[in-house]
Assembly symmetry: C2
């Protein structure tokens, strides 16, 4: 992960992330990205083969930070699914554009650091005591809640805290 990118490439990814989080995926453009760095769009191709490669690095950040957030939550309240779920929800809602970018398309698994995907999944699997079916169900529930909330799918007056509690209580009594 240290030598995964050159320093300049890291600057580019950082700018891409700022752009994405500030303005959403529509404004994450090779031209606006270059603008922000004070260079021209074609110069970006000296550092990344295409736009997709830049986005992959953002997905790596999402997965890494998700893993960190979940590990921290687990350390603070071992065995607590509520703590894990709260951390997941909080992180996702704090970075909605990044969350959607990394989530609403197939995972570029071959381009990811080895073990990263598993690392992000482990805390939940531990709190489910190794029950993978349950872990997948909980993950689907949490992901569904987050994306539906991000996209404004619930009624404006929906009590989402209550729905979270209701779901978590059912899934992990």
């Amino acid at each position: 992960m240290a030598d995964r990118l050159t320093p300049r490439a890291r600057e580019i990814v950082a700018a891409a992330r700022d752009l994405l989080e500030e303005s959403g995926p529509d404004r994450l453009t090779m031209r606006t990205l270059a603008d922000r760095l004070g260079i021209k769009a074609p110069s970006l191709y000296k550092h990344f083969p295409d736009k997709h490669a830049v986005e992959v690095e953002l997905v790596v950040q999402l997965l890494t930070e998700t893993a960190e957030v979940l590990e921290t939550a687990e350390a603070g309240a071992p065995g607590s699914l509520e703590a894990l779920a709260g951390a997941y929800r909080g992180y996702a809602l704090a970075h909605p554009h990044l969350y959607c970018l990394g989530t609403e398309r197939p995972l570029p698994r071959t381009e990811l650091p080895a073990g990263l995907e598993d690392r992000a999944a482990l805390p939940l699997l531990r709190v489910c005591a190794g029950d993978t079916d349950l872990a997948r169900a909980v993950w689907a529930f949490a992901h569904g809640m987050v994306v539906l909330e991000i996209h404004g799918r619930f009624p404006a007056d929906a009590e989402l805290d209550a729905a979270w509690k209701r779901g978590l209580r059912a899934l992990h009594p």
Copy 2:
């Protein structure tokens, strides 16, 4: 809904749907859509103000058919959440591109037929005996399972039937 669109507009929407379901959102282009109809792209603007308006009609189809599918499932097995969930999953996986198009962005509520959104939600609310928090949790679970499966997020060897059962059993004992 009958006079919602002119006949020609309905043909355009039908072609758009074919294109979307066959080839995915990237190929749902004003030019390819026009091609399929034997006309040129600018002519489409005689029937719709912009591409978004065409997509809204596809979302209307998704919501309408979802409502129908759920109502049918409910009629066949009243009170069964499993039947509802199976119908939902089956429909979504049969139309993955349409499902994602209608689901992975804010709902254009003001442009939808009145009552359609509620109608699609009602069967689930009934099976949850009016418990809206539970209904939202179940919806989030089902949506999460479907989109994660569509985007290949689960491991290739995941037993998704088991995860569905596990989640449904927990949420609706």
